[in-house]
């Protein structure tokens, strides 16, 4: 069976490392995480990902939702957003995108794993 390929987009390196290791340990294929929206778009063009765990607040000009829109134009990868911000405006933008899920930080990794398995 081919492992589910996941891209972690997270500008907090330790959080990214925690997610990457936790998901890898559970058998998911998680290559090196990216920290900026622009990098995520480039990686998505070449990486053929099934799921993208996308932090909304990222370094660089492009935030997670904008990066997800750009990726959605050419990729069928499922997007799961994470964010430390859960204000009304952020939540409205997330709802408008029709993502596969949203997790407020700190992310409950066990719940995240369940969601990934459910949508795939």
């Amino acid at each position: 069976m081919v492992a589910i390929r996941i891209m972690v987009v997270e500008d907090e390196a330790l959080i990214a490392l925690q997610l990457t290791r936790a998901l890898t340990r559970d058998g998911f294929d998680v290559p090196h995480p990216v920290a900026a929206g622009e990098e995520a778009v480039v990686a998505a063009r070449t990486g053929d990902y099934d799921v993208i765990i996308m932090d909304i607040t990222l370094r660089g000009a492009m935030d997670g939702i904008e990066a997800a829109r750009a990726i959605g134009a050419f990729s069928g990868a499922k997007i799961i957003f994470t964010s430390g911000h859960s204000d009304d405006e952020t939540m409205r933008r997330v709802r408008d995108f029709h993502s596969a899920g949203f997790y407020s930080k700190p992310v409950d990794i066990e719940e995240l794993k369940k969601t990934i398995r459910r949508i795939m």
Binding site: L14, I15, G84, P106, V107, E110
Partner: protein, 608 residues
């Protein structure tokens, strides 16, 4: 100072003389006309009496059967006729009438049966003319009317007006015979002329008397009244600088004294009023707030210096303006409607914005009152709130910045706790010792409970409080989910009230719950058979909070005393409950473990 001048006195006197004279002239003329009328009537009555007496006397003298015996015109002899004429002449003379006669009417013809010889006053010509005139039967027509009695009539001839009487009778043959007498009324002219002369004399005397009376009347009555009236009129328009001269007439003097007292009182009252107005004006002019007095059509009729400085207009410019000329928020129609509301309600207080002369704007808080006196006026006090509004905006902005900063602080704290949790996770992966990994996991859960408080604070509008019921519910669910091997094995019963608490209460409560729920999950349900955790949260009216947690497990092992035998986790719970929250802890270990922690909310004060 105003007094009655000599010219004015003369004028009053002249008017009085003219007025009295006119009245006297009118009265005199009327009296004369009436007198002439009455005199003329008396003259006619006198004449009629004389004529009637003469004619009747003539009939008596001739005898009632005189005409019965006249069968034709020749039946009276010339001699007899001459005697009759002579006697009639005599009668005319003594009774002072002109003619006396009798006629017999036969077949429409007139036959004189008696007469006078001549006109006593004009014997040469009158007789012939008279009889010629009276030969006409038409001149006797009034006396020939059927049923006619004595007829008096007036006639005109070359000597003037005359009066005659006709007394018709019937003789035994059924013929009509008429006794008549006439006289010239001109004989009374002299008497009427005398009457007119007397009337004119009386009139002239009355005019002279009126002139003589008008002088003292004018000097002692009319002029003083006029002076007093002028004085009262001057006082009515606010001029009290008048002289009230004494009068010789007691009533006028009393009136003058009363007016003088009134003037004194009014002068004092006006002085006080003027002083009050000056003080009020000075206060209004020196006031820091603007002041307007506005007519009902919106015209500014009074303005103080403060508003001039606010608006940049001079007082003269503002007094030529209306409210819409400076009002920047309301349209002209709005202002008119607003004015109607103020008039109806009597007062108002509102905020608005005015336009300065240089085109810039300033904010105004206006307090207005409507007074209906003098046709209605609106008084407005205008407070420039521009600086206050700017200060308010600065404070609001500063508060927003601080709120944002505080939220960001909670956000950063929560994120940093997330990073710490990640580090603990990563560290746990490196450990082979299950006890150490469990210890790190417990620590991670403790940090998670604190991170959740910061997240909920960050998400809420209140930066110092969060809903304890919601927090307990969410925290316990996360803890249970993270421990459950098989979902649904652990049932959670909740009886949680919702109420906000300070972060100083929420964090110890979160740590206590984390320890006790973790303990229950680890020890209450051995073998994975599942069970029930019961949570209660209640706040009494006096602010006492009770937090309860119980499990359906077997309870403490025999002889276990959590205060004595409990490890770090339970010691932490007791320390937080009793020392940090200042509460009491009740523990029961039979038929499941049950913790009841109660503490006073009032022991904690908000820090922000």
């Amino acid at each position: 100072m105003r007094t009655s001048s000599g010219r004015r006195k003369f004028g009053t006197q002249s008017v009085l003389i003219l007025m009295f004279s006119a009245i006297v002239v009118v009265l005199s003329v009327s009296y004369t006309v009436l007198l002439i009328q009455y005199r003329t009537r008396d003259v006619i009555k006198l004449a009629d009496f004389q004529l009637l007496t003469a004619a009747a006397f003539s009939w008596e003298l001739l005898g009632h059967d005189y005409h019965d015996r006249i069968n034709d015109e020749k039946s009276v002899s010339n001699e007899r006729f001459a005697q009759i004429v002579a006697r009639n002449d005599y009668l005319c003379r003594i009774m002072d009438i002109q003619y006396l006669w009798s006629v017999l009417v036969t077949d429409g013809d007139i036959v004189f049966t008696s007469g006078t010889h001549s006109d006593l006053r004009d014997p040469a010509s009158a007789c012939a003319t008279f009889f010629e005139n009276h030969s006409d039967p038409a001149s006797f027509a009034p006396a020939l009317e059927p049923g006619s009695g004595t007829v008096f009539s007036t006639f005109d001839n070359e000597w003037g007006k005359g009066r005659q009487v006709l007394i018709p009778h019937q003789d035994i043959l059924g013929r009509t015979y008429i006794f008549g007498a006439s006289m010239q009324l001109t004989k009374f002219d002299a008497m009427i002329s005398r009457t007119v002369l007397i009337a004119c004399g009386v009139g002239l005397a009355a005019i002279l008397l009126a002139i003589l009376l008008s002088v003292p009347l004018s000097r002692f009555v009319v002029s003083p009244i006029k002076t007093l009236t002028e004085g009262a009129n001057l006082m009515a328009v606010g001029n009290f600088d008048i002289i009230l001269a004494p009068s010789r007439i007691r009533e006028l003097h009393s009136l003058s004294v009363s007016l003088g007292t009134m003037r004194t009182n009014l002068t004092q009252y006006m002085d006080r009023l003027r002083e009050s107005e000056l003080r009020q004006h000075a206060v209004l002019q020196r006031a820091l707030d603007g002041f307007w007095r506005v007519s009902l059509d919106g015209r500014i009729i009074e303005v103080n210096q403060a508003y001039c400085e606010m608006s940049g207009y001079t007082e003269e410019e503002l007094l030529r303006m209306r409210i819409p000329d400076v009002e920047a928020e309301e349209s002209k129609t709005d202002t008119e409607a607003h004015m109607s509301t103020i008039i109806q309600r009597g007062w108002d207080r509102f905020e608005s914005r005015h336009r300065r002369k240089d085109g810039s704007f300033f904010d105004i808080e206006t307090s207005v009152q409507f007074r209906k006196e003098q046709g209605g006026t609106v008084y407005a006090f205008l407070h420039d709130t521009t600086e206050r509004k700017l200060a308010d905006a600065r404070i609001r902005k500063s508060l927003e910045e601080k709120t944002t900063l505080l939220k960001e602080l909670h956000h950063r704290t929560k994120n940093n706790m997330g990073i710490i949790m990640a580090l603990l996770d990563l560290q746990a992966e490196e450990l082979d010792d299950e006890r150490l990994r469990a210890a790190l996991s417990d620590t991670k859960n403790r940090i998670k409970s604190m991170a959740m408080v910061h997240r909920m604070i960050y998400e809420a509008n209140d930066l110092s409080r969060l809903d304890l019921g919601d927090y307990v519910r969410e925290l316990v669910n996360i803890l249970v989910r993270s421990f459950e091997r098989k979902p649904g094995k652990i049932a959670i019963e909740e009886n949680l009230e919702s109420f906000p608490v300070l972060i100083d209460i929420a964090i110890p409560c979160g740590l206590i719950l984390t320890e006790l729920v973790t303990n229950a999950l680890k020890h209450a349900f051995p073998g994975g058979e599942g069970g029930r955790i019961t949570l209660t949260l209640h706040r009494a009216n006096d602010g006492a909070i009770e937090l309860g947690i119980a499990d359906s497990g077997p309870g403490f092992v025999a002889g276990f005393d959590p205060r004595r035998d409990g490890h770090l986790g339970l010691q932490t719970v007791l320390a937080l409950a009793e020392n940090q929250l200042g509460g009491k802890v009740e523990i029961s270990g039979d038929n499941g473990v049950r913790w009841l922690i109660s503490f006073e909310e009032s022991a904690f004060k908000a820090r922000i």
